[in-house]
């Protein structure tokens, strides 16, 4: 009887999974294999694909714009991951601390930007960065300085996009950290205080270590998200000025959807995919290493 029940349970389980499963296979699994297959073809979207073996790889590795796009992507990741992890952690600790009032308000305030759509965020920040009419420009002028053309300056365009991204998405990480912080039993802190621990020591010996899983999660998610950046660059600079903010995903988009070079675009996308897997794997090994 018990065996039959278990079988029936299992059967029901699969049945519930089936609708989603079908969609998943059709729209995720199959296209994934198709796109990997496309890597070995030359395809201009409107015609029939032509088998070219490893030509796309050769082209890619000798394409200076590919390498610069990759570099820009890494640069962006470097600019955004540390703040989005460390700052999120610090802010959540602050919000969570006993001495702070209005926790709900603060949590909502920091999370609110995350609920905005990317177009709204990017267009608004685009206006803020405007060197003639923007807020920063007005502040510069007030102090008698020459406003910086943030999005039109080779040096500042990427950091400007990074700042917008940090403002926009930090709320999500803060919420993750808050959830983790609230899992730490207050008795640990009380015990530490009895032993005379300072705030600093509490942070380093209790808070940070106990949040190991959250650190790993936030960092991995953040790295993966940053490597895939597209929207902000697309809306705010279109890869400019002079291609200085062209990130890999934007280049893939241009090559595939604008210049009719789908096979080549697929190759770069596949490369990005492998890069992301590598990062995620390394990350988890590094941060969760000890626990294993």
């Amino acid at each position: 009887m018990i065996v039959l029940k278990k079988r029936r349970h299992a059967f029901l389980g699969y049945l519930f999974f089936l609708p989603f499963g079908i969609f998943f296979v059709i729209f995720r699994i199959i296209p994934f294999f198709e796109s990997v297959r496309m890597v070995f073809y030359k395809w201009d979207i409107l015609g029939t694909p032509k088998f070219v073996k490893f030509l796309n790889f050769k082209k890619m590795f000798s394409d200076p714009t590919f390498w610069s796009s990759l570099a820009h992507t890494f640069y962006f990741t470097l600019l955004t991951v540390p703040p989005l992890v460390i700052l999120a952690f610090l802010i959540s600790v602050l919000i969570n601390s006993r001495r702070v009032r209005g926790k709900d308000f603060l949590r909502t305030a920091f999370y609110l930007p995350y609920t905005l759509s990317i177009s709204v965020v990017c267009l608004t920040w685009g206006m803020i960065y405007n060197p003639h009419f923007g807020i920063f420009a007005q502040i510069f002028k007030f102090f008698g300085a020459q406003p910086i053309n943030w999005l039109g300056d080779s040096r500042w365009a990427m950091p400007a996009i990074a700042l917008t991204t940090i403002w926009w998405t930090i709320g999500f990480n803060i919420v993750l950290y808050l959830a983790g912080l609230q899992q730490i039993p207050p008795s640990y802190y009380e015990a530490a205080e009895l032993d005379g621990a300072t705030g600093f020591q509490k942070m380093f010996y209790i808070t940070i270590p106990l949040l190991k899983r959250v650190h790993a999660l936030v960092t991995v998610l953040q790295i993966l998200a940053s490597l895939q950046i597209f929207g902000q660059v697309f809306i705010m600079t279109s890869g400019g000025p002079a291609g200085k903010t062209r990130v890999l995903l934007l280049y893939i988009y241009e090559k595939g959807f604008r210049y009719f070079k789908m096979g080549y675009a697929q190759t770069m996308a596949f490369f990005l995919f492998l890069t992301m897997i590598a990062f995620a794997y390394l990350q988890i090994r590094l941060m969760m290493g000890k626990e294993r």
Binding site: D44, I45, H132, F133, S238, G240, P241, A242, E254, F260
Partner: protein, 410 residues
């Protein structure tokens, strides 16, 4: 009760019959601002005059238009009519994405078109597009600013620069005298890297695009000189890196003396309150004609896996009607491509048209060739790189040549 039901039934059937007899076609456009209104109103007018056809307009953002069109064609769901620049026509016609139009438009219909323009609507002997305008790049000048800066001649008329040196000189004076941020604004992406480049390069005597062989010849020396000439405006701080909207805004708010833009801005500028301005051809190098860049808008009928004959006929009807209303469309600022309209009193009496109708004689064809989409993106990048001093004019010219070679080899 029965009467009510009967009335409802009859009205339902009537509506059903009316919509049943109607052919609905979709049209995609990328016109915004002032010209957007003119287009939408024209479409509305067509719908009113043709109860058996309904044209539904979908306005797509300019920057995304071709991506979306391409995706739609691949998905088999393109619009029945789409707008398309003449310069990208080959990329689509060559790949079989468009419907040939020869059978819908007889020779007599095509005779009135400006030959240079209509000839580019053919590919491989077949007609793929019907041009509706030509829109060259021109120079706008702000009379308020120029008068305030004292840049007027003996008769009190504002100084209109005829050469690039004069433009630089006047713009600089206006900027310094009035403490402005800039003296001349123009968008530093396509306007600089592609359009101004082609214009100045041609003025230097270079032949950028050869319509016979459909390829691009680049004289590296002339290209380098072109970049140098354009870079001077930035070296002397008369111009700055700027986006399209800001460039226009500064001009409309009297914060700059000169502004380079396409004639499409004429759909808006005459309506801006308090803007006292004029328009003329862009400056020329001494000894050269004021060659300038221009492209043309056209209507195309994208290919579907299964073409609906009724819809294609309705589309052709709309296109024919639209051409008959070329004058209306010309109110958007563009130059019409029908010779009869170009010469007409009606057209020439539109605001300031007389000041730039001549420009059509100095228009340099935007390259109509495969790979142009990618090539011009590279030119936009290079233009910015030059003024940001990431690359010297000499290196930029060399890079442009190698990019052209690469793309043509594909």
């Amino acid at each position: 009760m029965r009467k009510v039901l009967l009335i409802l039934l009859i009205s339902f059937l009537t509506i059903a019959l009316l919509t049943f007899g109607k052919v609905t076609i979709t049209i995609w456009t990328f016109f915004g601002g002032g010209e957007g209104y003119i287009m939408t109103n024209l479409i509305k007018q067509f719908n009113q005059e043709h109860p058996d056809i309904e044209v539904q307009e979908q306005i797509v953002e300019w920057g995304q238009y071709y991506n979306k069109l391409l995706t739609a064609i691949v998905a088999g769901e393109p619009p029945d009519i789409g707008v398309m620049h003449l310069s990208v026509l080959p990329d689509y016609a060559e790949r079989g994405a468009l419907t040939p139009l020869n059978e819908f438009f007889p020779k007599s219909f095509l005779e009135d078109f400006v030959p240079e323009v209509i000839n580019k609507a053919y590919f491989d002997g077949k007609l793929y597009a019907i041009p509706i305008d030509t829109h060259p790049m021109v120079l706008y000048y702000n009379k308020t600013v120029l008068k305030k800066a004292g840049l007027v001649d003996a008769n009190g008329n504002v100084l209109i620069p005829k050469t690039w040196d004069e433009l630089l000189e006047y713009a600089k004076k206006a900027k310094e005298k009035l403490g402005l941020d800039v003296g001349l604004t123009f968008e530093t992406g396509p306007m600089l890297g592609e359009r101004l480049f082609i214009a100045v390069y041609t003025q230097l005597g270079g032949k950028f695009y050869d319509p016979k062989t459909k390829t691009i010849h680049l004289d590296v020396e002339k290209a380098e000189k072109t970049y140098k000439i354009l870079k001077r405006f930035f070296d002397e701080k008369v111009s700055q890196v700027i986006d399209y909207a800001t460039g226009e805004s500064l001009f409309q708010n009297d914060k700059t003396a000169y502004h380079i833009n396409g004639v499409w801005a004429m759909a808006v500028y005459p309506t801006v309150e308090g803007l006292d301005f004029g328009v003329t051809s862009i400056p020329a190098l001494p000894g050269s004609k004021p060659y300038t860049w221009a492209d043309s808008h056209t209507w195309v009928i994208p290919k579907k896996p299964k073409m609906d004959e009724e819809k294609v006929k309705a589309a052709a009807t709309f296109i024919k009607w639209f051409i008959e209303h070329t004058y209306e469309w010309a109110k958007a600022g563009h130059l019409p491509v029908l010779r009869s309209v170009l010469k007409s009193e009606e057209f020439l009496n539109l605001p300031m048209r007389k000041d730039y109708v001549d420009v059509i004689n100095y228009v340099v064809p935007a390259p109509s060739m495969r790979g142009w989409t990618e090539m011009r993106q590279k030119m936009w990048d290079l233009g910015q790189a030059v003024i940001l001093e990431d690359v010297t004019p000499a290196d930029a010219a060399k890079e442009l040549l190698s990019t052209i070679k690469e793309i043509l080899e594909e």
